[in-house]
């Protein structure tokens, strides 16, 4: 099942709506990495509220996604990891090291807003 990607101003929002196969996850990663350039986005939100399981493959793919997006000059935040999914991830020894996470979409947008403002501030100081 393909994950819809929404463009909202300078951000991209991908909302996972059902369990994802490995191929779906890889497609999502590649699509976001491509579109962040196409739309010149500053940030990406991946909403995993509906994800039933976050296993080692899903964790690795999301981590790769976030690192690739960073290399493209934007920030990624994963939102909506459910309590039981977080519990299973910890038991499995999985972490999303180096990847920003937030409680939900609202918090994710607030995080990216702060980030965007900070980088604009830096840029104006440099000039």
């Amino acid at each position: 099942m393909e994950v819809p990607i929404l463009k909202q101003h300078e951000f991209l929002i991908a909302t996972v709506q059902a369990a994802l196969s490995d191929a779906d996850l890889t497609l999502l990663r590649d699509a976001l990495v491509e579109r962040v350039g196409k739309f010149r986005s500053r940030g990406v939100i991946v909403d995993v509220t509906a994800l039933d399981v976050m296993d080692s493959f899903a964790s690795r793919t999301l981590r790769d996604l976030a690192h690739m997006i960073r290399l493209r000059g934007a920030e990624t935040v994963i939102v909506g990891i459910q309590p039981e999914v977080a519990f299973a991830m910890v038991q499995l020894g999985l972490n999303l090291e180096g990847v920003a996470t937030a409680l939900d979409l609202e918090e994710g947008l607030a995080f990216l807003d702060r980030r965007a403002r900070k980088s604009i501030g830096q840029r104006s100081r440099e000039t």
Partner: protein, 158 residues
């Protein structure tokens, strides 16, 4: 490695011998063929359904689904195809779900290494087997080189 396979035979006997005392549903099993990554999702969703039906609560259904996901992925990744058997089990009045992941792939070269965190021959995180072991109450593996891999795990209801 031979011993793990013997244990699996014991389990089969246990399954058929306890017939008379079996509560409704115990011993019932479902075979989910695993042929591609698409089947991983189906297997873990069926496992979650059975766990919920058995009355597993809280984080347990997700832990069980996560374990199935890891085991099914190992089949796809290392053997190409195989099956996941989901079975309702009972011991000492407690019910549980048993998951057997079976394939006829290359087996595991170094079983001790494969059970260590961070060891992987596929470029993965090396968390699949040791992580699955932590998620479940019982864990057994038999993987004689060239003869396929069988992993059996059980989660008991609290």
């Amino acid at each position: 490695m031979g011993s793990a396979l013997v244990k699996l035979e014991d389990r089969k006997r246990f399954g058929s011998d306890s017939g008379a005392h079996r509560p409704q549903g115990a011993g019932r099993e479902e075979h989910v063929p695993i042929r591609s990554d698409m089947d991983i999702v189906g297997a873990r969703q069926r496992g979650r359904e059975i766990a919920l039906m058995l009355g597993f609560q809280g984080t347990d259904p997700t832990l069980i689904a996560s374990a199935i996901s890891e085991l099914a992925r190992n089949i796809v990744q290392y053997a190409g195809q195989g099956e996941i058997v989901l079975r309702i089990v009972e011991r000492d009045g407690r019910r549980g779900i048993e998951i057997v992941a079976r394939d006829e792939g290359p087996g595991i070269g170094n079983l001790d290494m494969a059970l260590q965190v961070g060891y992987s021959t596929s470029g993965g995180l090396g968390l699949g087997l040791p992580g699955t072991k932590r998620l479940m109450d019982e864990f057994e593996i038999g993987a004689p080189r060239g003869l396929g891999t069988t992993v059996r795990v059980v989660k008991w209801k609290k």
